[in-house]
């Protein structure tokens, strides 16, 4: 059996468009491997949504995501943290954000996921603009 060893504890990727399905193996030594995926909802404020347009401000966006990921890894004693976020247009129903956290036990991994996402929305330069479906077809 081959075993992939992650070369980095923290990875950050900005990806054009929707995130493709992906099965990443957990880090060596993990007792928990949490993968959270954020999906573009089909409606926003009661209006049918076609897509969200995500905008980043590079290189600041990647730098702030990496800082936050590293701070979260240290604060919660994680084994690894992998962040993927879309830029550009992502249709309703598609994945625009993926957070994968490897930890020795589930408790710190779950806490870290909550912390990371809350802080990301407050401190990382990433914006979304709704693209609504046409009202009459």
């Amino acid at each position: 059996m081959t075993e992939r060893v992650r070369s980095q504890l923290v990875e950050v990727h900005l990806v054009d468009g929707a995130l493709a399905p992906k099965a990443t193996p957990p880090p060596v030594g993990a007792g928990a491997w949490l993968v959270f995926e954020g999906i573009v909802r089909p409606s926003e404020e009661g209006r049918p949504l076609a897509a969200l347009d995500y905008e980043a401000y590079e290189p600041m966006t990647s730098r702030e995501l990496r800082r936050l990921a590293e701070a979260t890894r240290v604060e919660h004693g994680l084994l690894s943290i992998v962040v993927e976020h879309s830029v550009g247009r992502v249709a309703a129903g598609e994945v625009s954000f993926r957070l994968a956290i490897g930890s020795k036990h589930r408790a710190e991994g779950i806490r870290a996921a909550e912390t990371f996402i809350d802080r990301m929305k407050k401190t990382v330069p990433l914006w979304k603009t709704p693209v609504y479906q046409r009202e009459n077809g």
Partner: protein, 82 residues
Amino acid sequence: MRVSVLLFGPQATLAGARSVDVDVAAESPTANDILAALREASPALTGSLAMSRLAVNHEFAAPDRPIGPGDEVALIGMVSGG
């Protein structure tokens, strides 16, 4: 001094532009001076400025951070985070 401030996402939509030029009287303006000038230059942004910070050369700027010629200034509004 005239400073061009980059806008993104919903704030760019509100202002109807990707950047706003502001004139500041101070010889050595600070990030706070730029935010105050933005309120004057683009009233459409006023409501969202309380949830915004300035970035200078891709780093968040403290309110007293001086702004010089050639600095890249961006309005980072946490109004619709990812």
